[in-house]
């Protein structure tokens, strides 16, 4: 009877399925002005970056040998750089990297 455009649709009762692993409807990698860059040689796996990232963008790798950065969601707050216990992290200007483009149509 009614014609609801797809982009305006709301699920029944505004109840949505929970995300799995990440929330792809809210990619936040495009928030960054600076990104953290890791020197794996310097890293002693103190885990400060892992525990203190509000966006869970640092994770220990599967084999537990290094920490891995999530460029799709990192907002560039640089808490990790500030808290790194071994100076393994440095900040770098985003435009110096051709990668990590999260070009969205809308900001969300």
């Amino acid at each position: 009877m009614f014609n609801v455009p797809q982009e305006r649709a709301v699920p029944f009762g505004c109840v949505t399925p929970a995300p799995i692993g990440e929330q792809p409807m809210m990619r936040t990698g495009n928030w960054r002005e600076f990104r953290p860059v890791i020197d794996h040689e310097q890293c002693n796996l103190c885990m400060n970056c892992v525990v203190w990232c509000p966006d869970a963008c640092w994770q220990l790798s599967e084999n537990e040998e290094e920490v891995v950065w999530n460029s799709t969601y990192c907002k560039g707050c640089l808490i990790c750089v500030n808290e790194c216990s071994h100076d393994a992290l440095t900040k770098a200007y985003e435009l110096d990297f051709p990668d990590g483009v999260v070009r969205l149509e809308k900001p969300f």
Partner: protein, 399 residues
């Protein structure tokens, strides 16, 4: 075996809620609905009803507790009166928007100021646009029945909406009447266990309840509820049909007519004062006045078609308002607004006016109805109504 008990409206409500096997109840005291919770508290204390009985810290909390409990898969019950009903206002729309079929009993009470414990429908009527089902009972029996009927309608997967099950404070809530209590097996046949479906809060199938939307999606949330109300008449007819069959009753789903066969003037009314109106109609007929009565059973969804079909048959309709709408288009209550709107597309409309009666808990007596009938009769004679609202007991009977 069904048994007959003499119960107040409050006690009858409690019996119905017990037989609906509710899981979570949230109470807060305010007169005159309190006794319903007193009864339920006794049942829980005696082990007759296995439910969580939570002492809410206020009406706002009552509605919040049942909101959470219903989202977590429980059948729920709460209730209130007067300013308690309006204190909980914030939570009504979140409940209907989340499509949680909680049930709330309202035993009406006038709103402050000052403190007035008499019955008036303004408390509930102020909340009529919050996406809840709403209707009144005339007697303890009808109150008992309405609780079961409303759970069935509200929990129907085509509906999934909360319900205000209303009764007049004191008149219905406090004065005992005969109530037929059915067998539990009959209730179980009529009312299946609550199935919250896929949107229940459950760690085994996680969902997010109520994330924010953009302004352009707000209309869609509204449309969802509006569509449920469009579907609802069908569900109500089915539920009332099943109820009549299983319990041997004769309810009309939306509007009940009394002595209307050749009636020229009718009272249009909802709630407890319909009981007195019936006697008034009988006595008016004894005096040769062709009077009748049309009782509204649901004000939300408003049965537009049924009201129009029913009222179009008469010459004069007097809407008995038991609530206020200060400054409204009819200068009285809201019911005449609805009635006139329902009649707008009828080719031959009856004359309509309204009577403010029973405000603040004022009794509405036979004399009051005779006075209303005189105004209606005069109006029919004159072919016009003098004004859209008359205040019962406070004005001379001139058309």
């Amino acid at each position: 075996m069904a048994k007959e008990m003499t119960l107040s409206g409050c006690a009858a409500s409690a019996q119905a809620v017990k037989m609906a096997k509710v899981d979570v109840i949230c109470s807060y005291p305010i007169r005159p609905y309190t006794a319903a919770m007193m009864e339920l508290a006794k049942m829980v204390a005696e082990g007759e009803l296995d439910a969580e009985f939570i002492h809410g810290e206020g009406e706002h909390a009552q509605l919040s507790v049942v909101y959470g409990a219903s989202a977590a898969g429980a059948r729920t019950f709460t209730g209130s009166s007067g300013v308690g009903v309006t204190y909980a206002m914030e939570v009504y729309s979140p409940i209907s928007g989340a499509r949680l079929p909680v049930q709330m009993m309202i035993a009406d009470r006038a709103l402050d100021p000052p403190g007035d414990f008499g019955s008036e429908h303004t408390d509930a009527m102020s909340c009529r646009d919050q996406g809840w089902i709403m209707g009144w009972a005339e007697s303890p029996q009808e109150a008992f029945d309405n609780h079961l009927i409303n759970y069935r309608i509200g929990e129907d997967p085509r509906v999934m909406l909360p319900q205000f099950v209303c009764q007049d404070g004191y008149f219905v809530s406090h004065i005992p009447g005969k109530v037929l209590i059915p067998d539990q097996a009959q209730v179980d046949e009529f009312l299946p266990p609550y199935n919250p479906g896929k949107h229940v809060l459950d760690p085994k199938q996680p969902v997010s309840h109520g994330p924010q939307i953009r302004p352009d999606q707000g209309a869609i949330m509204d449309l969802q509820r509006a569509e449920a109300f469009l579907e609802m008449p069908k569900v109500i007819e089915e539920a009332v049909g099943d109820f009549n069959r299983i319990f041997g009753r004769h309810y009309s789903p939306f509007v009940e007519e009394f002595l209307t066969d050749d009636a020229e003037i009718v009272f249009f009314i909802q709630g407890g004062h319909a009981a007195t109106a019936r006697y008034a109609v009988k006595h008016l007929r004894e005096r040769g006045v062709k009077a009748g009565l049309v009782k509204l059973r649901f004000v939300r969804p408003f049965p537009t078609t049924q009201v129009a079909e029913s009222l179009a048959k008469f010459k004069g309709v007097g809407v008995v308002e038991t609530s206020t709408s200060y400054g409204g288009s009819m200068r009285g209550g809201n019911l005449l607004v609805e009635v006139r709107a329902a009649l707008y597309d009828v080719p031959k409309r009856p004359l309509t006016t309204s009577f403010m009666a029973g405000l603040g808990g004022d009794a509405v007596t036979l004399k009051d109805f005779y006075w209303m009938a005189e105004i209606l009769t005069n109006a029919v004679k004159a072919g016009r109504v003098g004004k859209t609202v008359y205040w019962a007991g406070l004005e001379q009977a001139v058309a």
